[in-house]
């Protein structure tokens, strides 16, 4: 019970919980510039198919991973620097990451249950996965040759 009475007091004026001062303005300008450049690179992927002569299918295979990587970098940068998560109490980081992890886990499970990884972008929604081979069609039973003596099985 006395643990609460002896809890560290929080200074809430102008400082982070850890007592960190803010970085200089130039730091935030640099982070903003980096984010702007990354956004510009993301936008250019819209034209990579034309610039590099990629087919529609290959364009997705090339630009998809690039876009996801850039998206994650931007997400982490904004959370770490603009939202100050890098310099704040670790509990805040854990709370936020818990929410993200729960959301990603639940919705990856949901997409998997809906066969999204197999059927997305096609007209075969809810069809069986293509990787499972379909059984060969049944063939007619060959006629059994008659036994000597006129009997047949």
């Amino acid at each position: 019970m006395t643990a609460v009475a002896q809890a560290p007091h929080v200074e809430t004026h102008g400082h982070d919980d850890g007592g960190h001062e803010h970085p200089p303005d130039a730091f935030y300008w640099k982070v903003g510039a980096v984010l702007a450049v990354l956004t510009a690179v993301e936008v250019t992927t819209y034209w990579w198919k034309d610039w590099f002569g990629l087919s529609a299918e290959n364009a997705g295979k090339v630009t998809g991973p690039v876009l996801i990587i850039l998206m994650v970098i931007k997400f982490v940068s904004i959370a770490a620097f603009f939202m100050h998560l890098k310099f704040d109490n670790k509990m805040l980081r854990r709370v936020f990451i818990a929410g993200i992890a729960l959301a990603v886990g639940v919705y990856v499970a949901g997409l998997s249950a809906m066969n999204w990884w197999v059927d997305s972008g096609t007209t075969n929604f809810n069809d069986a996965p293509r990787t499972r081979p379909t059984p060969p069609p049944p063939t007619e039973k060959p006629a059994v040759p008659a036994l000597p003596g006129g009997h047949s099985s």
């Binding site: 929080v10 936008v43 998206m71 904004i78 939202m83 936020f96 993200i100 997409l111 075969n124």
Partner: protein, 280 residues
């Protein structure tokens, strides 16, 4: 028990705030308000995760696919990537100005705080205006396609155009829809290289209820737009409080908490822009 509630702060520390808002200590070392905002943002991840994953499931389910119904137009057929890119830069810039607002009040600079808050709210309003313009553009383009198809049907019924002559519409994303008209008044619609499907021309459109694809799109982006709008209101209220002298260096965390919400809104747009608009 009462001793627990009346322990004075350690010597040398300052109890923040002219009011009693931040007077009591916490066991975690974090103020309740800040922790509450982070917990709220964690829960918002689940909300937007649901909306984004629903869009991912339904984005290709126009009226032309099994399991879809309504308009043959996919929302991705109508995207104007350059315009949406500019919107993205605007929202990113607003995140930067928000950081400067927080830094300003942390240093006790009230005039710069008001400047940066106003700039953030203005950039946010520009973003929302861009979204409204974009969405009304989608509605208009879907309606134009419907009007053209209905006119073509009327011309075929009047005999001005041969009945079996197909009508091809090229959408902004360079995809084409080929319409073949039926005696019953319905049309057979095919996207390039895909099987045709039969539908009523009156179902053609790109509005909220036009197809599963469009519903998912507008729900996701609409929710985000509402979040941005609420953020603008929070910024304006904070600006008003700052102008009234209610925001000082002592209670600068108020601005920080508003900033957390605004940055989160920007972060969600980073996800939406990439997943919805850019990933093929």
């Amino acid at each position: 028990m009462s001793e627990m509630l009346t322990v004075p702060p350690p010597a040398g520390t300052d109890v923040a705030g002219e009011t009693d808002d931040h007077a009591h200590p916490t066991a975690t070392g974090i103020t309740n308000e800040k922790l509450a905002m982070w917990v709220f943002l964690g829960s918002e991840c689940l909300l937007f995760g649901a909306l984004i994953s629903t869009y991912m499931l339904y984005k290709n389910r126009s009226g032309l696919v099994a399991g879809g119904q309504g308009s043959p137009i996919r929302m991705s057929d109508l995207y104007d990537i350059p315009f949406t890119s500019v919107s993205s830069f605007v929202l990113l810039a607003s995140s930067l100005t928000m950081v400067f607002a927080v830094v300003s009040i942390a240093r006790g600079d009230l005039s710069r705080l008001k400047l940066w808050l106003a700039a953030t709210a203005a950039l946010g309003a520009i973003f929302v205006g861009g979204q409204v313009y974009e969405f009304t553009g989608f509605l208009r383009e879907g309606a134009e396609v419907r009007t053209q198809v209905l006119e073509q049907r009327a011309e075929r019924r009047d005999g001005a155009v041969p009945f079996d002559e197909p009508f091809v519409v090229t959408l902004p994303a360079k995809h084409t829809l080929t319409f073949n008209f039926l005696e019953s008044g319905d049309v057979m619609v095919a996207r390039q290289g895909e099987p045709a499907a039969r539908m009523d021309p009156d179902d053609i459109g790109a509005g909220f209820t036009s197809s599963v694809s469009s519903s998912a799109f507008f729900t996701l982006t609409g929710f985000h737009g509402v979040h941005v709008s609420l953020g603008i209101i929070m910024l304006l209220v904070t600006l008003a409080l700052a102008s009234a002298g209610r925001i000082t260096k002592r209670n600068a965390e108020t601005v920080e908490i508003v900033g957390l919400y605004w940055h989160f809104v920007d972060v969600i747009w980073v996800l939406i822009f990439t997943i919805v608009y850019l990933i093929p």
